[in-house]
Each structure stands twice: as structure tokens, then as C-alpha cells.
Amino acid sequence: MISRIERRLTIAAGAFCLGGIVLFVCLAAAALLAFDEPGSADDDVLFDAYVWRVARFTLLQASLSTVLSILFAILVSRALARQAAFPGRVWIIRLMALPLGLPALVVALGLIGIWGRQGVLNTALVAVGLDQPVSVYGLSGILVAHVFFNMPLAARLMLGGLERIPGEYWLVGANLGMRPLSIFRFIEWPAIRGLLPGIAGLIFMLCATSFTLVLTLGGGPAASTIEVAIYQALRFDFDPPRAIALSLLQISVTAALLIAIRLLTPTADEGHGGGRRVRRFDGRRGLGRAVDWLVIAFAVLFLALPLGSVVSSGLRSDLVRLASDPVVQRALLTSVVIALMSGLLCVLSAALMIRARQAALSPRRPAMVYRGLAAGNLCQFVAGAVGAAGRSGGGLVSAVAAARRCRPFCAAFGHPDQHVDGAALRLSRAGAGNGHPYGPNGEACRQPRARRLASPAADRLAGVAQAVADGPVVCLRLVTRRSRGGGAVRFAGYGDAALAAVQPHGRLPLDRCGGTGAVSRLRLPGADDCRHATGRGG
């Protein structure tokens, strides 16, 4: 526990950073507003039709880009999480850090090297005898480019989330014989779901403020974002009030979307484990493994080919001479210095804001939770929408988004005395064959599912709950019920260990499982202190 003063200091530091960012943006906006340039009133008609069209397109392309990036990222991160031993996995994950660090023009040319009219894809198509080239220019090109930029970002964030799932979950999942779909539904999806608002919001902002890629690959002015209109307003037109009005429009579109995402996806709890080494048991052979490998291979090709195209044109242009050129070296030094300094600044202010948010989150003042959330979001979309100094702004946003996921596990772990170290359930069934008589995770409690799974053998359940290692004990209650021609086995674990493991995110309250039918208490090996965890029903 932190002291009251520490807590206040932490909050003050975070508020200071947030205030600094807001002040920075507002001062710039105010300075621009101070210019009283005439001439913005006479073209209001043009403004309206044009701006609404541009806003609509911004919304369309950014939403599609976000959805596609996230769907692709879910597949990739899941495949990578399951295939811990994939050759070169570490390098693949490092490769995924690359796209965001590249200038948009370089990426556009790299993508065109693959997807363009003279690109690898079309050349291959012509070689097979198809003569109509696939045209990348248009919405499809914008989407390809945005997925190229943002899928790796999303996948890395999600992979982090998947890897934070406690090892107990996988043990239990494996012991329950969960199928991949169930694993996804009950273990992986809840972990990903919690990350989605942050990731989706971040990607949406990056895509909504995209400029070079949208124009270059968009094929014509029908593909213009609000960002283009802002640039136009400040450049040839020099009309600061209009630029600010457009920026506000952009910020409100983004804010509305962020709020919508936040409302639509309830925040999920982080899983809480005992910190055992995480080992997954699924996707080790057969179809699952093949699919994972295919997904990873596809993602690697998708990312590496355009990068390769960039590298190969780089090599052709006398890299050695360039590298030894003092101008290039000076530019490199400048880049490194600026990147380091802004990176440091971003991480520092993000860390301060996160700590402040945590301090504000303390249970004493629940209202602050929401204010904290609001503050976090605010700085996300302000930084994104204003795109403050391009990359460094993006860095701040990613840092905030990433770090917001890392809430300490203790935050929601209400019973410190019910540790889950090593608690794992091993249920075996006499004559266990294929099939999953218990259903994945408490699902069996539901009657229809239970009926489907029922088998007489289940009644002869030799339930052994094993407390692996030396952790506190899991108390297991097996409930046998006969109903309509079949027996179903239900189980319920008492204590947070089993709860956390079997019901990762509290999807099914324990009460719904307990209470009916004959109860067979199993005496577990070394389960003398069962009382410790059996709050009820024991």
C-alpha cells in the first residue's frame, strides 16, 4: 500500500504530464486561431459537401482498416502464442516491430514492389497466364497498407496479452480436454477482449490520420481523409480557423468511436496465476499445428516481402557510399538523438500518467476509475489526432496503450490468502476415451450441453483433483445428477484457484454450479486444509 502523500504526488505528476500535453496542443491551436484571416466564410457550401464526403471516407477506411488489422492480428497472435517453438519465432516478433518505424513513402513503394502493377504478384499472375493486372490503387490498396502497418502492432500487443495468461489456465484447459474453439472462447478471447478497446482505438486513430498512404494508394481525390483537408487548409489556403474546425471534427469522430468501443466491450479482468512457467498444451500436432504454421507463414510473407523489396532497392542504390556520406551520418545522428529524447519523454510521461491512473484507481475512490479512463483515452486521441510530431506522438500513444494493459495482477485479486500456486486440477475418468464429459469449464452445468455429453461412464468418475506442487489446496466437489436418461457430471471448484482456472473471467458464477444433486466430496491428496478455501457448500 502506498501512503496518502505518495498517492497524491503520483496523481499530481500524472496530472502534470496530461496537463502539459493538453496545454501544448491548446497553445498551438490558440496561436493559430489568433490569425484573423478573412475568406473562410465565402466557401461554406463547398466546405460542407466536401468535408462531409471526406469525413465519411475517413470513417469508412479507418473502420475497415481497423477491423481487418484486428482480425488478422488475432489469428497471428494466437498462432504465435500456441507455437512457442516455431523456428525463428523471436525474429518474427521483432520483424513485426519494423513497419511502424518506417516512413510512409518507403512503405508505399515497398508495397507497390509486391502488389503494384509491376509488382511480384502481378508478374506472377501474368506468368500463369492471367493478363488483367490486380490493381492495388483504391480502397484495397489503402487497406493493404494499413493492415501492413497496424496488424503487427496489434498482434504484438495481443501476443503480450496471451502470454500473460497464467499457466494454470492451460493446465486446466488441457486436463479438461478443451477443444481449440473452447480454449479460444474461454481462455484466449477473454484475454484479447480486454485489450481490444485500446488496440482498436489506437489503430483507428493511426488510420484516420493517415495521409500519404491514402493519397498515394487511393487512386484519386475520392480517397481523401480529413487530414488532407486540414493540410490543404493550412497550406495553400492558410485558413487556420478552418484547419482547427476540421481538426475538431477529426477529434470528435475519433472520440465518438473510442467511446463506442469502450462501451461495447466490457473490460475483462486480467487472469491471476501463481507465476508458474507458462506452458501451453494445445496446437502441438495435427491440423491445429498446420493451420498455425500456415497463418504464421502467411503473415511473415505479407510483412517480409514488401520490406524485402525496400531492402533490395536500397542495396541497388550504392548503400556503402551513402553510409559513408557525412550528410547521411549527420542525419542519422540527428534522428537517433531526436528519437531517443522523444522516446524517453514519451515513456516517462506515459509511465507517470499510468501510475497516476493506478493511484486514482485505488478502491477508496471508485469514481476516479472512470476519470482515469477518460484521461487515458483523452491523451490517446489527442495525441493521435494531432499526430504531434508524427512518430513520437505515435510512440506515446503506443506506450500508453501498451502499458495500460499491464495492470498489476494484484489489482483485482481480492483474496491474497488464496494463492493459486501450483493449483491444478486433474480430472480423469474411468475409461476415459475421447470426448469431454465435463464440458469445457463449467459449460457442462448447462443442461442441454450436459445431456449431450452425458455418458454412463461419467458416473463412475474417478475424480482426482491433484494439487500439484505444494500450493494450497483445491477443493473439488463433484456433482452427479441423473436426468432424463443420462448422467451428467458437473464439477465445481471452490476457492479462487479453481475458479480462476476453470472460470477464467468469471463467466459462469460458481453458484450456478453448486447446490443441487448428490455431492461427493473427494478427499484430495494433502487436502487437509480444505476448510481454508471452502467458503460454502463444504
Binding site: L27, F35, G218, G220, V228, Y231, L234, V327
Partner: protein, 340 residues
């Protein structure tokens, strides 16, 4: 261009730059502050040679403040207002002249420009032209055997032979093409854009993106300058890329320099303006800025320049006309190009 929003931070950058610039120049008593665009001051640009040549004669120190391009120069001046440190502004083009004059920051130059020869005969009492180039469609001789011989042929040609153009909302060449089409087609410009639209592979935010796509082989044509082939011939030794000569004539871009009203040393500023039309400066321009000189050079231009297209007719709209109609014409362009 990803940093499109940087103008947003203009005041801050201006403040930082203003704090940073005087230090480098405090050694000399007389300092001439020249605002210009980045490609002028880059290592490959004319900047360093120009400083060297001018400092030999003026007994002063030249200090550059550079921004992305000509359009941003004007924005910068408007943002800084009367507090601007600029003595000289070098790099506006003729389209911006009337807007620049309207700011009231510029003083008449009073330089004798009788030796200056620009196609179309541009003269002005506030701005001195220092180089020019004609816009042109550059084509790849390897993929295009029969380039268009006129703007009409470009507009009506085979839609499968694509061209990459720049956006008039964000770039000078893009605006140049808009004015070119307007000069040739007049009221029919919208219809012409409607036809040309099918030949346009994509519209890029700036020249670099368009030229990058072109040299990558994505399209056999790109909108650039008549001088672009000279660069390929001199710097790369290839004559693969050539400019298409259009029978109607070509639109011209003239780059100009002017002195500000609050120049610290008006005589020095005036000296610089007559220097930019002089022999030394004009000799530096062609192979560093890749534009045509407006007056005599020490040596004849490199052979490659002799092979360039020299337009028989030059289009140039008055900057007043451009300033008055630009928004409406861009609206017309948007409507024509966005139709399906």
C-alpha cells in the same frame, strides 16, 4: 508528408528556430538572413556554393532558415508576421506572388532586371526571378514508344497507359497541371479532367511520391519538369526518361526572391537580389537546383540541357487570377476526378 500536421506546430517550431538561428551568425557584424526551402540548402542543393560566392563580395555572413517548400515559406511568413527575422525570401513561385504581396511584408527591390529573360516575360517590382522550369509529362522510353504530342493526346489517349499526377491541394506541380489544363481548355477543363481521370493511375500528395512510383515502373508517365531528364542524363548517365513536348505549349513555374520591409540592412538585401540574377548565382543553379537559369552563365549549360524540350509556347496566368480562382478550380477538379 506524414507530418502534414506539422504546420499546426508552426508557432513553436518558429520560436525554436528563431532562438536557434542568431547564434550561428553572431560572429559577423552584417548578417543576411535568407528564408528558403530545404532542397535549396541541402548538401546537394545550390545553398553552400551561393553562400560562398556571395560572402566573397559582401563582407557579410549569410544565414539560411529553411522550410519544406515555397508554399510553406509564405505560411511561415504569415505566422511570424512583423517579428520575422527574414531579410530575403527566396523560393516563392509566381502563383504565390499576389498572396505574398498582400501580406505587406515585402519591399520593392529596385534592382535592374533588364538582363533577366524568362519565357512569358515575367517582370515584377517586388520579386526578382532567379530560375524557371516548364512542367512536362516525363515518359519512360522503354515502356512507351509513342508518347502524347499534345495535352489533347494525353487527355484522349489510351486509358491503359497510365500517368501519375500530383494533388493540386497539396503540391506545386499538382497546381501547375491544374493551371495548365485550365489555360488550354478554359471552360472545358472539367470535361477534360473527366476524360483524363481514366488515365490517372493515382494522385500523390507530392512530387517525390509521384516520381518514385514512376521510376519504379508503375506508370509510363509522370507529371514533372522539362529539366527532369537532364538529371537522369547528368547524374545517372541514362536517357531512358524523356519529356514529352506538347504542341499547345507548357505551363511555366518561375521561382522568385524578394526582400522584406523590415530587412535590417536594405542595401545588403538589394545587393543579394541583384546577385541572384548575376553570373555567379546563375552558373550555380542549373546542375544544383535542376532548373533553367534566367540570365547568362559563365559556361554553356551541360550538353544534356541542350537535349531538353524547349516549349514553343509558354503559359503563365497572373498570380492575381490564380489567387482569385484557385479554390473554385480545385473544387471543379475534385468534382471531375471524384465522379465514378
Amino acid at each position: 508528408m506524414r507530418k502534414a500536421i506539422i504546420p499546426f506546430l508552426g508557432p513553436f517550431i518558429a520560436a525554436v528556430a528563431a532562438l536557434a538561428t542568431p547564434f550561428s551568425a553572431s560572429a559577423e557584424d552584417k548578417v543576411l538572413t535568407v528564408y528558403t526551402y530545404e532542397s535549396f540548402t541541402s548538401e546537394w542543393g545550390p545553398g553552400a556554393k551561393v553562400v560562398e560566392a556571395f560572402e566573397k563580395t559582401c563582407g557579410c555572413k549569410v544565414s539560411y532558415v529553411s522550410v519544406a517548400d515555397g508554399v510553406e515559406l509564405l505560411t511561415r511568413l504569415k505566422l511570424e508576421g512583423a517579428s520575422s527575422k527574414a531579410d530575403i525570401v527566396l523560393g516563392l513561385d509566381t502563383n504565390l506572388v499576389s498572396e505574398a504581396k498582400a501580406t505587406g511584408f515585402f519591399a520593392p527591390h529596385g534592382v535592374d532586371t533588364s538582363a533577366v529573360k524568362v519565357p512569358g516575360g515575367f517582370t515584377d517590382d517586388t520579386f526578382v526571378p532567379y530560375d524557371y522550369g516548364h512542367f512536362a509529362v516525363i515518359y519512360d522510353t522503354e515502356t512507351m514508344k509513342e508518347p502524347p504530342k499534345s495535352l489533347k493526346e494525353l487527355v484522349e489517349g489510351d486509358p491503359n497507359q497510365k500517368i501519375v499526377i500530383e494533388d493540386p491541394r497539396t503540391s506545386t506541380p499538382g497546381l501547375g497541371l491544374l493551371l495548365w489544363v485550365k489555360s488550354v481548355y478554359g471552360d472545358e477543363a472539367a470535361a477534360a479532367w473527366g476524360k483524363l481521370k481514366d488515365r490517372v493511375l493515382t494522385v500523390t500528395p507530392g512530387w517525390s511520391e509521384a516520381y518514385g512510383l514512376f521510376t519504379k515502373g508503375e506508370a509510363p508517365m509522370v507529371l514533372s519538369y522539362t529539366t527532369s531528364p537532364a538529371y537522369h542524363m547528368v547524374a545517372e548517365g541514362t536517357d531512358r526518361y524523356q519529356a514529352a513536348s506538347f504542341s499547345e505549349g507548357h505551363y511555366i513555374q518561375i521561382e522568385v526572391a524578394g526582400m522584406t520591409k523590415n530587412a535590417k540592412d536594405p542595401a545588403l538585401a538589394k545587393d543579394f537580389l541583384s546577385f541572384v540574377t548575376g553570373l555567379e548565382f546563375q552558373s550555380i543553379i542549373p546542375t544544383t537546383n535542376w532548373m533553367m537559369p534566367v540570365a547568362a552563365t559563365k559556361e554553356p549549360l551541360p550538353e544534356a540541357f541542350g537535349k531538353l524540350v524547349t516549349p514553343e509556347k509558354t503559359f503563365l496566368m497572373s498570380s492575381d487570377e490564380v489567387a482569385a480562382n484557385r479554390k473554385a478550380w480545385i473544387g471543379e477538379w475534385l468534382a471531375a476526378m471524384s465522379k465514378n
